[in-house]
Symmetry: C2
């Protein structure tokens, strides 16, 4: 027992050392960013406005979320004890920190990327990627440190069972922030974007990022609070929740094997090393931007695949015999490989459906020639088609990893998939930085050569953003399935006679649950799309007001008041977020406590939400990405180029795609997990 404990502690220490290493590299990257040139004074003014707007939004978001957090903290403290409540605070703070710091770095990296573009493509690229890498390393570093530290501390004090149970508090904290950040950030970024476009591009014929548009700073702020802070909080949560889910499942199903708790930590730790190497590779590579990013991911995956093998055989020298199967180290290793393979597969598939080089995007571009309607129809069809391959591979991954090592095998596959988050998030956070750098370059009137560099990097960033969204959704779906497994195990552990607990599809409560769960993503996305529409409407009114009051803005004589637009979107995003944020939580509570439904129907809700949520999210983000790039493809001069009727139709598609791909679609990820985590927490109360 003592040896076991030592081993366990060592494994967690290894993960925490790797996590710390990740944070140290992030610190070094921040230092190197801050010591680079901050560009011309004009750039500084614009970047300052963006920084200020982003900070203002996040501060207000923190104030708003604190109120909810206090209520949840009190409820957790009362029902679950101080450890779970403490875990909640840690999870929330770390999720917040990942988003907040990552975004703060992004808003200083953007102007330095614009400045770098004045020198060379390499220096611009290096600056943008370093900014993204800070977020990537923060996410994995903080997740390993917080979960590992909490567990290492709580276990000797509370005992194993209680320590693991309290981790669910940490997961809830992470989910709360992630849900709010994804949803609020998503509404913010698209309300500002759509609002700015509706008046600027359509009514006044201004270009993207034209400084005469009063909503342009809000639009750039949105990139940071949505794509950067929102995504960072989201993946931090998926990572932490998957790690906790794997520990939970390992503990509940393989009680006699302490290594089952250790293994997920070790997988995470190993991949941090790979991510750091990948990041150094990109920063010193002479390849084209897109190619060097992909090479870095492949390098990381290969390194992880190689190092996972000795780690697995060392941790599991003996077979584990459970009631239903025998688990070997080979089986576990194969499950981990499935997770790595899933990452590669999902990246390739999303790239196919959203890149300008392949048929789907080009089909939408062709359909734009016959008008707005056919552009939309083609985009929706592409999004629906895009669900097939990810679903097939997700199903194969579930069946394969379950075959090799049961529910724990699925958890291992998810953890292995997410262990690559460090490098994947680096790619994603690269996107908003280059997007902003482009905006700053335009607004500060950089020379054409610099703007060509930022445009090229922006296009790469767009593809990376779409690709990482596919990754985030697939991993969130798998993570949620592990949580559902945890829910079932948790439920069994509270029942005297659990033989009757089958969640059978023949039970009408299960079918009712599946329908309620299946409904949730549809309603949730309807509310979040509406939210963007309403908030964008508020922006339109404000911009029209400013232009009406000060006609000099359009001629360049007056400066617009950027601040009021930032302020309006901030308030609208937080207000419109309330209903969709409450929806999943209230649904779980209602189903759990309505006598005709209860715990069995709740199981149906969890799975139903995963089933439709997965497809809706993939379909929405793929349609959105494809519409965006179909517009870009036409702007390259195809089908008549800018100003043609095909271009006008493609702009419509892009507008529809905006809330699809950046608000409703991605916000489904944390929603799915919130539903599952709240259900796990509610279990003991259902038996009171």
């Amino acid at each position: 027992m003592f040896t076991n404990f030592l081993q366990l502690q060592n494994g967690i220490n290894f993960a925490m050392i790797c996590g710390t290493l990740g944070l140290l590299v992030a610190l070094a990257l921040i230092r190197s960013i801050l010591t680079s040139s901050a560009g011309t004074p004009k750039m500084g003014v614009i970047a300052g406005a963006i920084q200020e707007g982003a900070k203002a939004y996040l501060n207000r978001q923190i104030t708003a979320v604190s109120l909810i957090a206090v209520v949840i903290f009190a409820a957790l403290y009362y029902f679950k004890g101080q450890a779970a409540a403490g875990g909640f605070v840690i999870g929330a703070l770390c999720s917040l920190a990942a988003g907040y710091i990552g975004m703060r770095v992004a808003v200083v990296a953007n102007v330095r990327t614009a400045a770098g573009a004045l020198l060379s493509r390499h220096s611009a690229m290096k600056m943008a990627f370093s900014g993204g890498a800070v977020t990537g390393l923060l996410v994995v570093g903080l997740a390993l440190l917080s979960v590992g530290g909490f567990y290492a501390l709580a276990r000797p004090l509370l005992g194993e069972a209680e320590a693991i149970n309290s981790l669910i508090g940490l997961a809830l904290g992470a989910s709360l922030i992630s849900g709010v950040a994804r949803l609020g950030g998503g509404i913010y970024t698209k309300a500002a974007d759509v609002g700015a476009d509706l008046v600027g591009k359509i009514e006044q014929n201004l270009d993207e990022d034209d400084p005469r548009n009063p909503a342009t700073i809000a639009d750039n702020v949105g990139d940071n609070v949505g794509d950067c802070a929102g995504m960072a909080a989201d993946v931090f949560e998926t990572y932490a929740v998957s790690l906790i889910g794997a520990i939970f499942v390992g503990y509940l199903t393989l009680k006699s094997t302490p290594a089952a708790i250790l293994y997920p930590f070790v997988l995470g730790g190993i991949s941090v090393i790979g991510s750091i190497l990948g990041i150094f590779y990109v920063n010193s590579s002479k390849q084209k931007p897109g190619a060097s990013l992909i090479t870095a991911v492949v390098l990381n995956a290969i390194l992880s695949a190689v190092l996972f093998y000795p780690a697995t055989t060392m941790l599991f020298p003996n077979e584990i015999v459970t009631a239903t199967m025998t688990i070997t180290s080979q089986g576990l290793y194969l499950s981990a490989l499935i997770g790595l393979a899933m990452t590669a597969i999902i990246v390739l598939i999303t790239n196919y459906f959203t890149s300008t080089e392949y048929e789907p995007v080009r089909r939408i571009a062709r359909a734009s020639e016959t008008g707005h309607g056919t552009n939309i129809i083609a985009g929706i069809a592409v999004g629906n088609h895009a669900t097939v391959l990810p679903a097939v591979f997700i199903i194969a991954a579930i069946l394969g990893s379950f075959h090799f090592a049961g529910l724990y095998g699925v958890a291992v596959a998810v953890m292995s998939m997410l262990s690559l988050s460090g490098i994947i998030i680096s790619l994603d956070a690269f996107g908003p930085i280059t997007d902003n750098a482009g905006g700053i370059a335009v607004m500060s009137e950089s020379p054409k050569s610099a703007r060509e560099i930022t445009d090229e990097l922006d296009a790469v960033g767009n593809t990376m953003k779409a690709v990482t969204k596919g990754y985030a959704i697939a991993s969130a779906g798998l993570a949620a399935l592990v949580l559902f497994g945890s829910y079932v195990e948790e439920l069994k552990s509270h029942m005297v006679d659990n033989m009757g607990l089958t969640f059978s599809l023949s039970d009408p409560r299960v079918v009712a649950g599946l329908l309620i769960g299946g409904l949730l993503p549809f309603v949730f996305s309807a509310f979040s799309i509406d939210a963007v529409g309403k908030a964008a409407g508020a922006v339109v009114i404000e911009v029209r007001r400013q232009l009406g009051l000060h006609p000099g803005i359009l001629t360049g004589q007056d400066t617009p008041e950027y601040g009021t637009c930032v302020d309006i979107v901030t308030k609208a995003a937080l207000r419109e977020m309330i209903i969709p944020a409450l929806l999943p939580v209230l649904t779980v509570l209602a189903v759990g406590f309505i006598p005709w439904l209860g715990a069995v129907a709740l199981g149906g809700v969890l799975v139903g939400t995963i089933v439709t949520g997965l497809f809706l999210a993939i379909s929405m983000t793929s349609s959105g990405g494809a519409w965006d790039n179909a517009k870009k493809y036409i702007e390259e001069g195809k089908h008549g180029g800018k100003g043609s009727s095909a271009h006008a139709a493609a702009v419509t598609g892009d507008t529809v795609g905006d809330p699809y791909k950046d608000t409703a679609g991605p916000a489904i990820n944390p929603m799915i997990k919130v539903v599952n985590i709240v259900a796990i927490l509610v279990v003991p109360l259902l038996f009171k």
Copy 2:
């Protein structure tokens, strides 16, 4: 036993007598339609072209489907015996007859409605509604006669078990035709509609139904083959399949109670009487068109509710005690009432979301002011919101009827809901007749007063079409759940030890099945939307070719070749139908026979298809109906009226909504049921 048999025979005889009565009234209506004035000679020419095109399409569809039917017939004969194969032929022929005759009547009623409009609103209304009522009565009459006749004949020859098993062959026959008619007709109608609009309205600025548009006859043919023949075959199938499902469930779960088999027939028979009375009411009513149609439905429902009570207590004088519950006549009557209430609720909900009088449609109209993009976003959000209430009531209906009488209670609720099909389909088939009458009035240059009458009736027809789509989807979803129950029972009856058969959500095969099933409606709708796009593209090219070759068409000097457009759409619709039609069948076979998946995963597929299929279908048809009416609302002069930029945006929404509401959305209904029926048929083969 002998008394029981006599009773049983009497009950079925009652249903068959009612069915025959329905057919006789239909015959009388046909006679009264044929003896009415067929209008001016110009009307006759146009109507003749539409009739010819519709006949040509249906004939080609029959040829195409015969090939598939021969293969299925052979397979059924080989695996299931001659009775099932015979049932298959009967089901297919009756489904075909319902669609074919209904459509033939509609294409003679349309011109007479246009002629009636020259006299008065009442005579136009009477003609259109009589045409629709023929289809309504055909559907229920043929269903009761075919299922009742087959069972009455097969039972003494083959014994009860074999007779009931062979009924599944009849269900498959109905489903085959219904699937092909819905999908092929849906692709046809929207390809012609979108194709005609893209060139006619957008490129050449022609009005709807302008005789100079070479695709205008194809467009009018489409209304008949899609909305009329497709809908009739679909609801015939839902009716027959629900009746068979109820018999199946009654036999498998309540073996010792012969009345359980009789009861669904009696419910159906009673409602035919109510439907006939409702039809007479409409034809003699002085109310406004919309109000008199709704009153007829309410009358029918009340009469059924009253007559169901004595029928139920007479059939079930004693309680039925099963292994898990006690079923009383009160419980069964309450289940039947739930079915009637569901009809009313679904009609009200769909009306709210798609009528110009309420907020959803008006919100889309408002959003059209800010452009194409916001119109689309608003429409999608409305469609997603529209899923909530139907889902909540469907869930309540499932739980309630299951609580009252187990799975059989659910089957009774579905059968009771469908017993109102006679009157509901009369309303629906009213739609394409008035739509066509409007077209004929425009093309034959009727006076303005007559065109105002056809326009008014057309608007009522539009709402009715949307409302009955909601009814068709909700009943199809419930019917599919009964089929899933039948699948489970059928599976159990083939297993030596069925204790292990739980379809537990904790089983990865069930989760895999749910994901595969959940995927099906997304892929299916992607293919059917694509099909419309491709076929419409072919129409655009043909129309451009004709206008280029004969510029005299636009000035009215040359007559366009309507026939080539009809021909092109016919071929394209049948060709594009192949992949989506095969998809569900091949999926079921693949899942059933892949060793890692098998019967348990197949159960997941069935439920998964129902869950996402229900929501996608409701969302698509509601969005589509709302977009259509938002355009109509603007055309009434709101938000700038015809020719404004808001109107242009609304036309885009209508174009997107066309394949949503008339192709992909409604075709999901038969798809869900095909999946379930094929699964039931495959069961015995899984154990060979």
